[in-house]
Amino acid sequence: MAKAPKFPNPAFWRAKDNINWKAQGENLKEVGGIFWDMLKATDWKEFGQKTVDDFKADGQRIKEEYADFMALSKDEKIDRILNGEKSLGRLYRKGAMATVRREWRGIKDTAYDFYEWAHMWGMLLMTFSRDLIPALNSALYYRWMISYFCCHGFMDKNIMGLRGSNLRMSHLLIYDIFRYVAENLVFLAKCDKKNGNSQELNKKVVLFDEMTMGQIMAGFPDLLGIPYQLMPVFLVSEIDQLTCVPYIDAVESYGLPSDTCPVPSSECGALVVDALPHMGSCFISSSMPCDGSTMASSYMARRFPDLPVFHLCFPVRYEDEETVQMGAEDIRACIKFIEETTGAKWNWDAYFTQMKRFNEETAYELQKWEINKSRYPQLLGPCYELFRKWNYEMDGGADPRTLKTFQKVNKILLKAYEKQEEPWPGKMKYRAIVWSCPAHYYANFSNWAANCWGINVLVEMESLNFTKQLETEDKEEALRDLARLYERMVMRRHTNGGYQNVVDELWRQCEAWDASLIIMYQNVACKNMATVQGVLDEQGRQRGYDLIWVEHDLMDPRTVSRRTMRDKVSEYMRTVKQAEPVDPSLVEFEDEVCM
């Protein structure tokens, strides 16, 4: 059997940089000046006092934790040591940007957790060391790069409260996402004309609008497709809730109304403040997922007028099979555009190979769904939610290592199912479904809901996308299938093409997953969802579901804070369900500035 080619293509790493050292020196001087100004502006007395206060608070916390532990009975102490702590609200402190310490999960799980923590660090260091100077130099150009230094904290938040198999599976899944991010951060740095300036690599880079799926690149194995705004805007806003605030402010100062969706707003704002690397041979813009995203492409063209652009435009009424051919033809035109712009040739064999892998991954995904639909769901929590979206949207079978992760995870999953494990031990009270798009700045909301109230989110709307096995033999049908896939991208399948896709579909999914509680996200700027809120509310009540409406502003926590989001759930649970929290320490805590 032929050895599978390495991923990512080693030629991408080998591409030579052309760093303008004089420009780097000037930038360093400018950044140094900013640091100097910050140092001068700092109130050192206040800083010293704050440090002392933090030490005191730590001392007080340790004292309390010790007293709490000593007050436990012998059996409880053993349980605490073996199975971990129960009051997770203690990990937060007012005014702190990170949790005060890592979670105690019991001896075995804590040891495993630290192993994965170190594993992640190792991967990050190894990846960055592949081209260290431009990779680190990015931090001197882009503030979003600093947020990535806190990715371990993000991982910790997403696995809070997890134990046993669910913890192991979640670690495996999030590792793959971080590896993808780390590799692409290095590629961004290498390509950026202000930084690595690798002309060799730039010739091979095709930029995609951040929500545009990457599967089309399967036919171009010698090219590198990068979702352009994913790292600087989209994903980082999940890691650091405050990242997009300057972008949003910038574009609203420019004149954009504040009622537009924060995704395209932030992207446009990033262009206004020059927070995106200057790179690539061409740009594939997209009409998806919604009206606001469609319009952001003209801002891109304005910022980079010399970058050739192809506008990938898919039918909105995608369930109408009469429209599929238009989508397929647009893909054909896009392939032709990439060929003409880069000189590369579309390779059907490479395409079919990747799609076969993607089909296999889809089959594994469906296996997860089947288990989560059962009375013993096993893989829950934000790591899985993020992985599903990333795999469907960005990876799409490109990376053979991801398939191995699928295999490992599903092996653990089946064993855990046989043993009837609880993914949130002692917290499996309500079967829930999440509908509409979740807040980026609260990626671990489902984690909080499970830990605090025992609300177990079995699946979220954005995971429920296209699961058809894609055509891997007939070329014409393959293009049509690719169009069908793209049309059902994350955030689009449900919100476009008719109310049935989001309203009727919700009731169908509630039945399929045996979920009676619905976390109904209400992105205050999402018009697609806002325009069905009355119907959802009416029909949900008629069907007897618990609908908890949770407002958020996707990437702007100033409009609706995390705390306000939690309060909506807590109020409903207290007043309507007359429930008691599983972990009372998580009902009230401060995380306004916590990343």
Partner: protein
């Protein structure tokens, strides 16, 4: 200037979606086909025994029920239509032709179905998929959508003749309206025009909402009247402005702007004359439907078209119109909560100023604006700034 003979009558036709001429046409056995969006080629809805009426919600007050269904941060036009529909204001319609061009309007129309706002036998709502750019394959799809979702539905439900011949006949009648409106529009180029922006807006609007055959006699007469109309010796306006942007079906907005000392000379917005009142030239070689679809795609100025050439076309059209009609400044406007025009206005209002050299007033507005004091203040300030610019220019 002497009042136009039919102006008050025209205004009365705009007072109610189900106006006198619509009632008259329906009494004659004709079918009222409602629509909102320019992406539906208007003549298609005027074939055989059908007549088109572009939906408005005149005198909208509270939109609380629609807000319950569609939330309070969505397009007021879409909500106003739903509110009016729930009130029974569109019960007269025989069909509603929707396009899935913007999500809010699409949802509004979906609520027509969901809430069963029209119980007329045969009434149907259809939703068409509309392309974002012009290419052979997008035209193919557009044509197919119009055939399947519009024409075939009319035939199935009402036995309407949608043959090539019927379409060509509808285009001929449509062109007659367009010729009259175009001729009247040309009069606005004069230094001291014989028609105000408000009057033109009213005349233009009635052509969208009334059956073509019934409004044509009034239009012909008005055109003749304008040809001999004497303008005021001293113009009442202090500056000429062009309006560019999203849907305006409320002439009181034009009245408000003109009440601030401006003369609106150009109307590049939805329900305006550009696009919408261009004569459609059909050849005999290709099917009328395909030609009509291509024409609509080409002249559309909708911000939804994202291909580079259409983006440039929108800017060039705004610039060309403003120059031709001797505007001194532009008002870029958008309906509040409109995503397409929200992005477009924010960016292009800068571009028109920085690259095309136009003084620009950039505004977002509600569906009904006739009494907006805030808007009035902004327009007054803009008019003053244009005056000052003119004085400076003349002084040089």
């Amino acid at each position: 200037m002497k009042d136009l003979k039919h102006l008050i009558y025209f205004e009365s036709l705009l007072e109610n979606a189900n106006n006198e001429l619509i009632k008259q046409a329906q009494a004659d056995g004709q079918l009222a086909i409602g629509y909102t969006c320019f992406h539906v080629p208007e003549p298609l809805l005027n074939v055989d025994k059908c007549f088109s009426t572009r939906l408005r919600a005149p005198n909208t007050g509270s939109i609380d029920i629609a807000t319950y269904y569609m939330s309070n941060y969505t397009c007021e036009y879409a909500r106003a239509l739903l509110e009016r529909a729930i009130e029974g204001g569109y019960q007269f319609l025989d069909a509603l032709i929707g396009v899935d061009a913007c999500s809010m309007m699409n949802r509004s129309m979906e609520h027509f179905e969901l809430l069963h706002v029209n119980d007329k036998p045969g009434f149907f709502v259809t939703h068409c998929d509309i392309p974002y750019k012009i290419a052979d394959y997008t035209l193919d799809s557009y044509e197919k959508q119009m055939r399947i979702r519009v024409l075939d539905r009319l035939t199935e439900n009402y036995g309407v003749d949608t043959s090539d011949e019927a379409i060509r006949k509808a285009v001929a009648e449509h062109n007659e309206v367009c010729k009259i409106i175009s001729e009247i529009r040309e009069m606005r180029k004069a230094d001291n025009p014989v028609i105000t922006g408000y009057e033109f807006h009213v005349i233009d609007l009635v052509t969208y909402v009334c059956p073509k055959a019934l409004i044509l006699p009034y239009l012909r007469e008005t055109l003749e009247e304008l040809k001999t109309r004497e303008p005021d010796p001293k113009p009442a306006f202090r500056a000429r402005v062009a309006i560019v942007g999203s849907e305006i079906d409320d002439p009181s907005l034009t009245k408000l702007i003109e009440g601030c000392g401006a003369l609106v000379v150009s109307d590049r917005y939805c329900f305006g004359s550009t696009p919408g009142r261009e004569v459609i030239e059909l050849n005999d070689d290709e099917p009328a439907l395909r030609q009509l679809c291509l024409h609509t795609m080409q002249v559309s100025e909708c911000a939804r078209y994202i291909s580079d050439e259409k983006v440039l076309q929108r800017r060039e059209t705004a610039d060309k119109l403003a120059k031709e009609f001797k505007a001194e400044g532009m008002i870029y406007e958008q309906m509040k909560y409109c995503d397409y025009w929200g992005f477009e206005r924010a960016l292009v209002s800068h571009i028109m100023h920085d690259e095309y050299g136009w003084p620009v007033l950039s505004i977002d507005r509600l569906y009904n604006n006739g009494n907006s004091g805030q808007l009035r203040t902004r327009v007054q300030a803009f008019v003053e700034s244009l005056e000052i610019k003119r004085i400076h220019k003349e002084g040089k």
